[in-house]
């Protein structure tokens, strides 16, 4: 048989057509995903059964929940033998769960107000559509929030802010003479500013005073939120610096960063917190009384910064070297190339990792309950559960704690996924 090659010329292109109409919708989905094989059918039925039993035991407990009463005995009375949760504890101890047991109730508006302002302050950081002018408020916010939550004269935060502002201005001026020099000069300027500002604060003790609340009176979920927000926002920049330092050409900087990162990663956070609680005091001059919250913030920040640095290092390594070369060949200097070209891309790649660390960090703030700080978990384990009124109401309290943390962490996770989609510009 001879094979004959027929010559063929197409004169018209075949027009586009829709895919073949097949069954669509819920029935098809169920058949494909739930009942596609005998094993699958068994698994589906087993899962349905598990969901049903779980629901069956939790639903009455939840729905029968008692919301009023002043002790666990009141709950038992009202329930009268039926299963049901004793949510009354949440209602009665609400202020303690949220603010801790020593924060003066007359001042609750202050942390509340700070929380509302926090939403305003992080809006421009989280959403690029928000007016850039709001960044000014973001810069001022930490000092304002400190004043609101801790109280005292407003001069303190103002001096602190002035010191930072002076440092930034000074280092901007000197940026062209080299990065290290600029940073050093900025630091010195800030120090000078703070020392002189200190005298000013001593003089103006009574200027715009809010009743001051000492750190040991902070507690509840507020404490978790304070630690979480402060530590996350400090550890990201610190982590970036560590990651860049680790890639530095200067051996000293490189080795400092490597040693720091490796050391921190090799030590459990709880150890660092004990160090913060007990040991750190020995390193400071005897008469300086460094605030416990500050010490804890330093430790948690250092801890998560090391992890974030490693995440970002991964992001930096994923960038082709051509990006840096292109930036250089256009005349951008190191700082500009980093800020405009390298970091935006490296950070974008690192978002899942950074969020992972941030969520972990936020949950780890509950560890401070072990060094006798009364955060949400500390409050529950300590004052509330050990009180005679609410002895034994574990489930309700810890479920509530879990819920609060879940809401925040799930929110962070959803935001990060949204952000990733938002930044999806490379169409790879």
């Amino acid at each position: 048989m001879t094979h004959k090659t027929a010559s063929f010329v197409r004169n018209e292109l075949i027009p586009e057509s829709p895919p073949p109409v097949s069954e669509t919708g819920a029935v098809k989905w169920m058949r494909e995903n739930l009942f596609s094989s005998p094993l699958n059918i068994i698994m589906t039925i087993a899962s349905l059964w598990a969901v049903y039993t779980l629901f069956n035991s939790v639903a009455p407990w939840f729905l029968n929940g008692v919301w009023s009463g002043n002790s666990v005995r009141d709950c038992y009375e009202i329930l009268d033998g039926a299963t049901g949760a004793c949510f009354a504890v949440l209602k009665e101890r609400w202020p303690q769960l949220i603010y801790g047991f020593k924060y003066p109730p007359s001042e609750f508006w202050r942390p509340n107000f700070a929380a509302v302002l926090l939403c305003v302050a992080i809006a421009p950081v989280l959403f690029s559509t928000v007016s850039k002018k709001l960044f000014l408020f973001t810069v001022v916010y930490p000092f304002l929030a400190f004043w609101l939550i801790w109280g005292g004269t407003i001069l303190g935060p103002i001096v602190a802010f002035a010191g930072c502002a002076v440092a930034v201005l000074a280092s901007r001026r000197l940026e062209s003479y080299g990065f290290a020099l600029a940073a050093l000069c900025g630091f010195v300027c800030a120090l000078v500013c703070w020392i002189f500002g200190g005298y000013l604060v001593d003089i103006g003790k009574d200027f715009l005073v809010l009743p001051s609340v000492p750190s040991r009176d902070m507690g509840g979920f507020m404490l978790n939120l304070i630690l979480g927000t402060v530590c996350v926002s400090l550890s990201i920049p610190l982590g970036i610096m560590l990651a860049l330092g680790r890639q530095s050409d200067m051996p000293i900087i490189k080795w400092i960063c490597v040693c720091f990162i490796e050391f921190i990663r090799g030590v459990p956070l709880i150890t660092l917190l004990f160090v913060a609680n007990v040991v750190l005091a020995y390193f400071f001059p005897p008469d300086t009384n460094i605030d416990l919250i500050l010490r804890v913030i330093i430790m948690i920040t250092l801890f998560s910064a090391a992890y974030i640095a490693e995440v970002i290092r991964g992001g930096l390594a994923a960038l082709p070297s051509g990006q840096f070369e292109a930036a250089n060949s256009l005349g951008l200097n190191y700082a500009q190339a980093m800020r405009l070209i390298i970091l935006p891309q490296a950070l974008k790649v690192s978002i899942p990792g950074i969020v992972n660390v941030a969520v972990g960090l936020f949950k780890d703030t509950t560890l401070v309950s072990i060094i006798s700080m009364f955060d949400l978990v500390g409050m529950i384990r300590g004052p509330i559960l050990s009180s005679t009124a609410w002895n034994g109401v574990y489930w309700e309290l810890f479920a509530f704690a879990a819920l609060l943390f879940f809401v925040v962490c799930y929110g962070i996770s959803q935001y990060s996924q949204w952000l990733e989609r938002q930044l999806e510009t490379d169409h790879r």
């Binding site: 051509g322 256009l330 405009l340």
Partner: protein, 255 residues
């Protein structure tokens, strides 16, 4: 073939390289390079892979540091002084084999970034300049897209426009067409030819010999880190002197 580009070449020296040597560790990549480029010259550099072509042109804008000898660009000697390096880099444009556009920025932002941050051009003015050059490379309608949405040829033209936005006096090209599909090579070469016709000083590493014949006023052949032969395109292609040049040309023109 299209007509050859003929242009006046001035006596002014744009780049002067004297006795330049470079090592990667102990590997002697560039050996005793001497090269003087006058303003308006269009030089094509060719040679086998690994012969140091990329390294040579990367030394000219200090992406690589040379260890011995002198490189003077636009009257400024390249030393390790960062001020000089930044100055030279903003006078010398460079296009890479893999375009190296910034994927997180739109085409327009790619073009305006350097003028805004390095030259302190107001944003609006920078955008006008960018649009002007994007029109010149014939893709103004893509200004708001991202690099990932463009074809290779379009990306390389954007890369050229991005360099031009800095108003460089010298352009360096490192195999600008070798990562492109054949059908896109022409559009990039056309852009480069246009640039040459306007009198831009260019050093171009390429194996597009048609382009070399049409545009170059001098072709340089490198092998093992040395300049082995240099000549005007006609004699270079028709009558190569060095046996290594002959071998190389027979290999790339042979089929």
């Amino acid at each position: 073939m299209t007509e050859q580009v003929h242009l006046e070449i001035s006596d002014e020296i744009a780049i002067q390289i004297q006795n330049m040597n470079k090592w990667f560790g102990s590997f002697h990549v560039l050996r005793d390079i001497d090269l003087t480029v006058n303003r308006g010259e269009r030089i094509v550099v060719c040679g086998p892979s690994g012969s140091g072509k990329s390294t040579l042109i990367r030394c000219i804008n200090a992406l690589e540091e040379h260890q011995k000898g002198q490189i003077i660009v636009d009257g400024i000697e390249l030393t390790s002084d960062l001020k000089n390096i930044d100055k030279i880099r903003s006078e010398v444009g460079m296009c890479f084999q893999h375009f190296n556009l910034f994927p997180h920025l739109s085409i327009l932002e790619n073009c305006t970034l350097a003028p805004i941050w390095v030259r302190n051009t107001p944003k609006k003015e920078a955008e006008e300049v960018a649009m002007h050059f994007l029109e010149k490379v014939k893709i103004p309608e893509q200004a708001d897209k991202y690099p990932g949405q463009l074809s290779g040829g379009q990306q390389q033209r954007v890369a050229i426009a991005r360099s031009l936005c800095m108003k460089p006096r010298i352009m360096l090209f490192d195999e600008p067409t070798s990562a492109l599909d054949p059908e896109m090579i022409k559009e990039v070469l056309d852009t480069m030819i246009e640039l040459a016709e306007e009198g831009m000083t260019m050093i171009c590493v390429t194996h597009e010999m048609g382009f070399a014949r049409q545009v170059a006023n001098r072709v340089i052949f490198m092998d093992q880190g040395q300049i082995v032969e240099q000549n005007a395109p006609e004699p270079f292609f028709n009558d190569p002197q060095n046996p290594r040049t002959q071998l190389f040309l027979s290999q790339i023109l042979g089929h």
